[in-house]
Amino acid sequence: MSAGWLQVLKPLSPRARRVLGALSFVLPVLLWCIVSYVPGVWHPQVLITKPGSVEYLEPGMRMDREDFDNEVADARESDKPAPEGMPANPIYLPAPHEVAMALYTAFTTPPVSQDGQWLHQSLWHSIQIILWGFVISSAIGVPLGVLCGTYSTVARLNEPFIEFFRYLPAPAFGALAVAILGIYDGPKITIIVIGTLFQQVLIIANTTRKLDVALVEAALTLGTKSAKLLSRVVVPGILPDLYRDQRILLGWAWTYLIVAELIGTTSGITWFITLQARYQHFANVYAAIIIIGIIGVGTDMTLALIGRKLFPWDRTLDKSS
C-alpha cells in the first residue's frame, strides 16, 4: 500500500496528477467547510438572535459561549426571559459561501466614498506597481546577473556588496523612499525594486554559472571570439532557465506588494483590504486575498505555457509543472 503511494522520485500517471492536484485545493476548502458548517466543530461564540432580558445584548452581536451560558443561567435563576442565540464562529472567519458571494459583490459594490475606487481599479493600480517594479528591477538585474555569471571579475566586483544588501529588509527603506520620491507610486515601486533586484542578480548569476562549460569550449574551438560568446552561447544557453527564474522572481515581487502599498498613501488592493477590515467586512478581505492569489497563479501558469512555446528544445520543462 505505502509502496504504491509513496514511491521515491517516481513520476505520477496523468490521472493521479489531476486527482491529487484537485485534492490539494479541495482538502483545505473541505476543512474550512467543516469548521464553518458543522455546528459541533469549534464555533466558540454565540450569535445573539434575541437579547431577552439582558440589557447590553443586541441581535447580531457575537459573544463567547461561556459568557452567554452565564447570562442564560442568570436569567433563568431570576425568572426573566433568557437570551437566545446560535453557535457561531468569530467574525474573522466567514463561511465559504460568504467569501464566494463577496468575490462577486466586491466587484459590483460601488466605492464607499466619492473619490474611492472600484475593486478592479484598485487591482489594476496594484498590478501596475508590481509591473513597473519588476520591469525596472529586471532592466538592471538581468544584464548584471548574466554579466556576473559570465565574468568572474564583474561578479567579484558586485556580488559581495549585493550579498550584503540583500539582507536589508526592503520595507526599511520605506521612509527614505518617501522622503526622496514623495508619497505616491514612486516609493512603492522602489520597495519592490529593492526587494527583488538584489536576489535577482544573485539568482541569475548562479543560473548563468550553471551553463555547461563544454558548450562554451565547443564554441571557442569553432572560432567564436569571446565578444560573441555572450550573445551567441551564454545568453541563448541559459534563456529557458533565465525565464524560469524570472517567473519565480515575479512571484517574489508580488509578496512585497502589500508592504509597498502601505508606504506613503495606502493604495491599490491594500487600500481595499485595509478599508474592508476596518468595517469588519472580513468576507471581502478574504475575497481580495484570494484574488491576489488567483492573479499570481494565473500569471505564472500563463507564463509557463508561453515558455513551453518559446523554448521547444528545453527538456527540463517536461519535469516541472
Binding site: A214, A218, A219, L220, T221, G223, P236, W313
Partner: protein, 306 residues
Amino acid sequence: MDQFISPATLPSYLEQSADVRARFARLKAREIILDVQNLSKIFGNGKQSTTALRDINFRTHRREFLCVVGPSGCGKTSLVRILAGLEEKTSGQVLLQGKDVAGPGRERGMVFQGYTLFPWLTVKKNVMFGLEVNGHGSHESERQALQWLQLVGLERFADAYPHQLSGGMKQRVAIVRALANQPRILLMDEPFGALDAQTRCRMQAHLLEIWRKIDITIVFITHDLDEAIFLADRILVLSAHPGEVRELIEVPVPRPRSAAQLITPTFLATKARLEELIHQSKADDDEEADTYAMVARLTEVVDNVE
C-alpha cells in the same frame, strides 16, 4: 579452452607489407601539419604540483590519422585540450603548419566526449554556427551545412533539435559541425566513449569514410585499443604519471580497414604490443590488481562459476 593465437606465432608488429610501407612513405612525404615539441604540462605549483605531461614530442603529417592511447591518468585529455588551446601549456611548443598556436581557433576543430551540440539550435543551425561566427553569410552557411549533413546522411534531420537525435547521430553532427569550418586538424577526445558497442563500430567506419573523402588530419584520443588500431595510421602510446611518450607505433594493418581485420595476425600483433606497453606503465603504480585478489569468496552457492 578456446583456441588462442599464441603470442609466439604472431608476426612482429614492426613487419609491414610492401603496400603498407609504401603508404607510410607517402604519408611521411606529405607536409607536416602538427609539430609538438618538448610539450610539458604541470598542474598546480610548488609542492602540490603534478606533472601531467612531460616532454612530449611528435609530428603528424597532412591527412594522417593519429590515435593517442595510454592508461588512465596519462594526460591524453590534457594533451588534446592543449592542442585545442583550451588549456595552457607549461612549456614547449605546438606548431600548426609551422606557426605557434595560442588559444582556441577555427583551424583546430574539436569533437568532445560529451554531447556539446547547442541544444537551442536545430541540427542545421548547429552546423552553420562555425561558418556564421567566422563571417559567412547565412545563405552560404546554410548551403554548406546541408551539404555536410548529406555527407553523414542526416539531411532529413536538418530541422530537428539535438535532443531528438540518438547519441550516434549527435556525434555525427558534432563531427560535421567541426569540419564545416574547414579546420586544418580535427581533435577528437574519446568521441565515441559514451556510445554503445554497436553504434561505436558504425561510427568508426563512418569516421574513416569521412576522413577518406576530405583533406583533414585527425588526432583521436581513445582508451579502446581495438578502436585505435582500427582507425589509426600511427598510434602515440603515452605512459602515466607523468605522461610521457612511450612509443609511436606505425599500424601495419592495411587499408581500407574492415571489421574482419580485427582478428588478423597483424592486428593482433599490434594489439599485443600496445597491451605490453600499457601494462608496463600500469605495473609501475598499479594497486588495483592487489585489491582485486583480496576479495573473499562471498557466495553460498557451492559450485564454481569458472
